[in-house]
């Protein structure tokens, strides 16, 4: 053990870890306060607050899956080009050629799992009445995070550019065509005319804004790629930070008063 001790006493180790090993009660408290990654947690917690039968660990698993998706997603970006010419072929190559092409499986099944764990987390929060005061606002943030999770999954669904992808997105985005007022097949859009010219057409309605074109094509692929890899993950990360911060500020994990 002497080597271990020498390492732990070295200047390098001490410059990285601001606390001794958490082996006794005092240092187990200190470690939570001084470590960047751990300071998200409180120092101590009610026993029932960490019981798996109470929490199901679903919020934590969802966050972990978000991290898995981020890491595998960044790696997949090395191999994937969002153009009509390459998108499908790059996915084929991931399946047949690329070493560790299993990344795509991890990413896809992780995404499905994340949708499910988000629902289960929400279900648990409802069943324990944890959305009640003082946690109302954090529930609202959670609902937005649920929406972002679904949008992340939906935008990612298009990227393999196979029949499954393009038609699922076509079916899903056709809804936007029927948006009241703003979709060209939606109720009331006929009312938006100026001097007999329709303002809402299939080239200017909500669906066009979503797809960047009149049908799911290259513009859509580019748009969904940017949304999937940059815009939605950033928004999600920000809201996750607020979500976790509010868990602490609203009194930690819920429990009977």
């Amino acid at each position: 053990m002497a080597i271990g001790e020498t390492i732990r006493n070295s200047q390098i180790w001490k410059s990285i870890f601001r606390h001794p090993m958490p082996l006794d009660r005092r240092n187990r408290i200190v470690v939570m306060l001084t470590n960047f990654f751990l300071h998200l947690h409180p120092v101590s917690i009610k026993k029932q607050g960490i019981a798996l039968s109470f929490t199901w660990c679903m919020g934590g698993v969802t966050f972990f899956l978000f991290l898995v998706e981020t890491v595998t997603g960044v790696l997949l970006m090395f191999y994937y080009r969002p153009t009509l010419e390459w998108a499908y072929n790059d996915i084929l190559a991931l399946r047949d050629v690329t070493s560790l092409g299993i990344l795509r499986e991890l990413h896809r099944w992780g995404a499905h799992a994340m949708v499910i764990t988000t629902w289960l987390h929400m279900y648990r929060v409802f069943l324990t009445g944890s959305y009640k005061p003082p946690r109302e606002f954090n529930w609202v943030i959670g609902v937005i995070l649920l929406l972002l999770t679904l949008l992340l999954s939906f935008t990612g669904y298009l990227l393999p550019w196979d029949q499954l992808a393009i038609w699922a997105i076509t079916v899903g985005s056709n809804m936007a065509r029927a948006t009241p007022i703003l979709g060209y097949e939606g109720p009331g859009s006929q009312l938006l005319t100026i001097g007999g010219i329709d303002m809402i057409t299939d080239g200017s309605d909500a669906r066009f804004g979503l797809l960047g074109a009149r049908f799911v094509g290259e513009e859509t692929l580019n748009r969904f790629y940017v949304l999937h890899c940059i815009a939605i993950p950033l928004a999600t990360a920000l809201l996750l930070a607020i979500h976790f911060w509010r868990v602490r500020k609203d009194g930690g994990i819920s429990g009977p008063l």
Partner: protein, 441 residues
Amino acid sequence: MHSNGFFLNDVAGFLGGYYAFIAIMNGIAALVLWRKKDATTWAFVWSVFAGIMMIFASLALSGSKSMVPILPEAIRGLVNNLSGPVLYTLGTTAILVVLYVFRKFFVQPMVAWTVLNVSLLLLGLSMADENFAAIVMKPDNVPIVGLVYLLAFFTWVATKQAVVNDERIKQGLPVIEKVNDEKVLVWPDLVYTELICMIAVSALLLVWAIFLPAPLEEPASSVKTPNPSKAPWYFLGLQEMLVYFDPWYAGVVLPSLVVFGLMAMPYLDFNKKGNGYYSIEERKFSYLVWQFGFFELWITLIILGTFLRGPNWNFFGPFEYWTPYKVEVLNNVDLPQMFWVQWLNQPLPRAPQDAGLLSQIGYILMRESPGLLVMGVYLVALPPLMAVTIFRGFYAKMGFIRYMVMSNLMLLMLTLPLKMALRWTLNLKYIISIPEFSLNF
């Protein structure tokens, strides 16, 4: 439908492992019960069951298709003939109601274990049917099977604790969560739990990724529309709503209302009880509304949309071949048609050829007056009426605005089951039908 090779390799091979898994699971359960000594009868039952499952596993792996255990043809045919959207919806509702009413019975571990085993066995026996397997084993549909079992498991976990808590509250005892409120340090108790969870999830994900390749179909083609064309599975509940409503309502307004309603929930639920512990009795109303929305209007519709809707969005029984040639009678009628033509026996009011815009709108309003009246009564008259009758207590506690938001959200949520019922009983298509402004409801 499939060649023997596909079946023996993919389905039978899977079933072999599947039955072996059930056998091991029950073997462990029997061992645990045996060592506890107070449930030796159950230990015996589950070890016998484990033995049968081992026999099933070897039959599935025998390499001969006819040996694989399968649900009898007669039963599969009967299920196919009986099943339809009506029976499916009413059946799932009935099951959920029975589970809720007799929850004290169903949460008992041995009862729950029996239900689990029966469902796993039925799933296995059904999987041997090629049509069933073709749909359930589609890679993107596998998560939904997982979702169903996870939801069932966690609902059991929650209900079990709620039943205990409700009993304790009745006796004047503190809830279990309260008893267990001794404080522990986060290091090591919580951080290690998190670490173990992370490792478990990683392991599961890796196994899933190794054994189930991600789907990749033919390259995208905007001229070759697959039949059926389906949205990603988590939106199939919404797609199923399209059977009953136009896209503007089913695809845009209702989903927005779901999101809005979820966000509004903590501000509408004025019940201070049941905060931070599992309980049903203390918050029956919110519990039932939630479970109705979550299970009936979201999960069961997703299952229906994924597994039972085939080409042309027609309904197919679980063991039925998805033929694109299935014909369904479309004899739905709009309410104005019903009112003017069928009941009053006169043509629909129609504006004269040279009528101005205002006059045309007048005629449209007259034509649609029955539907507008029905919806007016439903959305405008019902909330105040309920405020002085069934929701009297709610109204007093919530105040005008909160009450109106809640009652309208609930009425809008109920438009879906009501429209379903009207479709099934009266073949009603639209209550209001103004194609002139793409406004059909």
